[in-house]
Symmetry: C2
Amino acid sequence: MLRSNTCGELRPEHIGQTVTLSGWVQRARNLGGLTFVDLRDRYGITQLAFNMDTNSDLCGQARKLGREFVIQAVGTVCERESKNMQIPTGEIEIEVSALTILNAADTPPFTIEDDTDGGDDLRMQYRYLDLRRGPVQRNLLLRHRINIETRKYLDSIDFIDVETPVLIKSTPEGARDFVVPSRMNPGQFYALPQSPQTFKQLLMVSGIDKYYQIVKCFRDEDLRADRQPEFTQVDCEMSFVEQEDILNTFEGLVRHLFQTVLDREIGDFPRMTYDDAMEKYGIDKPDIRFGMEFQDMAPVTQNQGFNVFDSAEAVLGIVVPGAASFTRKQLDGLTDWVKRPQIGARGLVYCKVNDDGTFKSSVDKFYDQDALAKWAAHTGAKPGDLMLVLCGGLDATRKQLAELRLHMGSEMGLRDPFDFKPLWVVDFPLSNGTKTPSATTRCTTRSPRPSPNTWTYRFRSRGCRANAYDMVINGVEIGGGSIRIHDKDVQARMFDLLGFSPEEAEAQFGFLMNAFRYGAPPHGGLALGLTACAPCSAASTPSATSSPSLKTTKVATS
Amino acid sequence: MLRSNTCGELRPEHIGQTVTLSGWVQRARNLGGLTFVDLRDRYGITQLAFNMDTNSDLCGQARKLGREFVIQAVGTVCERESKNMQIPTGEIEIEVSALTILNAADTPPFTIEDDTDGGDDLRMQYRYLDLRRGPVQRNLLLRHRINIETRKYLDSIDFIDVETPVLIKSTPEGARDFVVPSRMNPGQFYALPQSPQTFKQLLMVSGIDKYYQIVKCFRDEDLRADRQPEFTQVDCEMSFVEQEDILNTFEGLVRHLFQTVLDREIGDFPRMTYDDAMEKYGIDKPDIRFGMEFQDMAPVTQNQGFNVFDSAEAVLGIVVPGAASFTRKQLDGLTDWVKRPQIGARGLVYCKVNDDGTFKSSVDKFYDQDALAKWAAHTGAKPGDLMLVLCGGLDATRKQLAELRLHMGSEMGLRDPFDFKPLWVVDFPLSNGTKTPSATTRCTTRSPRPSPNTWTYRFRSRGCRANAYDMVINGVEIGGGSIRIHDKDVQARMFDLLGFSPEEAEAQFGFLMNAFRYGAPPHGGLALGLTACAPCSAASTPSATSSPSLKTTKVATS
């Protein structure tokens, strides 16, 4: 070992010991007779002290050390005169007796500090230097802890980690697969898996009744903030279970992760139907850290002579507690905000409930105080609150108001990043009715909620719901899954309804349907996203560079 | 849950409980008034009992169950009349009160038994059925346990699991990389990594001083028993270490795995130099479960008129204890065996040491009893032993005798598969002197053993040794690694010696060499192979189908 201790380890109880440390020069300070060098490694920073009076040669060497030089120092642990209680090693320093330069360093292109002067592009170009910074290393460590604690938990309840292949059979429909030409079979291609969906279902047929894998998946999609060509998911599947069993199992996993990784208890883990989520929050991944649930304003706004509302399919509102104090300028700002193309509303109607019980609205011309009082009674708005109302087509209005609600939540400080509110959204629609590439992994295997004998009609009318669920935390979809179809006849009918010809179904899923002939157990599962975190962008794809966090990548699979 | 218990769980203490089991019908036995069904899941087999007298309808249903039907049975745990002490659940059975067929099954194409009637091809075609068999499931479970215990051990000593990218930069030299065309950048390609070597070295530059990853790697090579296009390795790297630190760390890992997974203490973990291994065993991965070390027979065989030996560069022998009883037919068989093209020897000389101290040799014409006594004295052969001697060029003779030694070890029953003898082979040659594709990952980063100032000459004369080591267990290379070059000038000189032009070195390794400018710590590591184990061959590559075992895939990297 080129060190006896790490740079984060020494404390007053080590005073008097001779130690060897190795690490990087964070900074050197020349104070005339004394020179101090902050030595850094993954574990912390320790101060090295050099005294011009007692060893001028050594001190002279120390003064020549540049930033990020890799050095080894031998010395004695001493008590510091001026202690730094900001860092764990701040009570001691090392009186150095020998110094070795293990490797010199060019001046780094940006400072290796928590708050760096390097811009995004420069830090991505020198990713290996960016990774030396504390916040990035802490992200890597967080991801590692999530990874290992996930495995420990799943192992403790009898899940088996089974590796599935990466070079797999390319299917004709997989237009957005990455493909790999075969040298042994010219003109033929492997595909990289978009998810191990088929494999894990085959493992269920094999009797591996609890499977998991933390696995790379690949999608040849255009880059977006939460979509990357290669991403990682915690992929799970169970046999002989019903939906509630899966929800309980992975609620347990998430509780375990919060406890062990963040030392935090999370509270309730409520279930909400997809229909409720759309009605109350206008979105299938609601952030329930705060209220502001949608109100159907049609009963108190329509048929009173205001044509904009009268002609709208939907009039929806939210009550923002305590926002009656918003200035005209702030309200104009909100109106501009909802009219931006990204949101796309045509306008915003507001109504303040003043402290004295009177109302001030942007549609005072059409609604008198009595009418506005009915709005407040209908929505439960109290003095000091602000009602915000959007109207238009139902789907569009929900989408716009969902964005506005999140925006108001942020504005009012209701989205504490250290508060975690998990949620299961259940009873997703069986299908959006179209055969899309993503349908191949997401919708085709979902089992319908009514009995197999009644769902065909409902499917056609789009009223059919599936045994499908998403895990949502703070408005972010962490993952999702479903109870699968395990009957070959139901599966064949599903392919037909989705618009697959028998030939297409056979080409893409024939393997799975054949396996279902030989005793497939009832099964279901889910996949949770784990944000990609590559050590080095410049040697890899430009995409795989985001930092990991509990806000994980959206996962469309499973 | 569609079950209250698994099929491996119930014992006499559960007698009287009402339980629900789900699983596959292993077999049904109709004994007139009684019908017994063996119900199987991953955890075991439990006997279901149906009585024609008490419930003829139910018993009638049970009689119609086919092999591999998936069923759910509700019933009471009862004591068995005729106990089966061969299985853990053999003292109880379930008196079934309700039976549900969860899924019917076609007759499987081979029997789902430990000893199946299915041939290799059929079992690969129906891999998902083969995976139902006990031996294959136990292999999956063994692999899972090795995986999780490896992670626990490395986590406990501060290693961080960091994921590296799969879609990486394709380099011009990487002729045997798998490549992935980029849709976004037509005409350009990603490569799949042959190993994360560059990435893990960059992580060392980043200060992640203990890195590990259990990672898929890809090589577009022709198939061999121990080579597959995609394979998995336990990939590790450490900073601020010397060779002995790495050996001790991973000796610790292997001890931990044997203890926790196989409940077994392994003994010594000796180190042997490459030169010693070649001299004593003729191979760089000796099986040291038994002796039969090579003897240089030249001093006692040459210059005595036997031209075959006199003209040979090398005359090497082994002593096989207790094999003097081999018959003439057996000895002829051995001669034929070494003359097969796979071995390629021109002949075999033997010399028995009879119990009475006399000798019987195939070269009695050239060597009298006195001369043969000198052979025995030289090799330490005792009465009852057999000396086997090969000759020819040094390299070829070593290779042939190494094969013969292993063959004799097997013949004499000295290679107990439940005996594990690990070994480090150290001080590998710095390079075989050629620039091959495998050199790009294996040899280019190895640090030379003499100081950087003296190794250039030795390199040219091929006498230079590297800080490189392999872990070998029972003659199988489990993995290997090296202390890396961390100095950009030494690295540049190495590329030059290996025959890379500066342009080639820059194109392939410029990124790493640039990183070395900014403070690269001394570092080294290794990779251990973990045999591939795909759940399904027919939906994937034909290669990824072998069963996992402690005899892991050879790993050429790291």
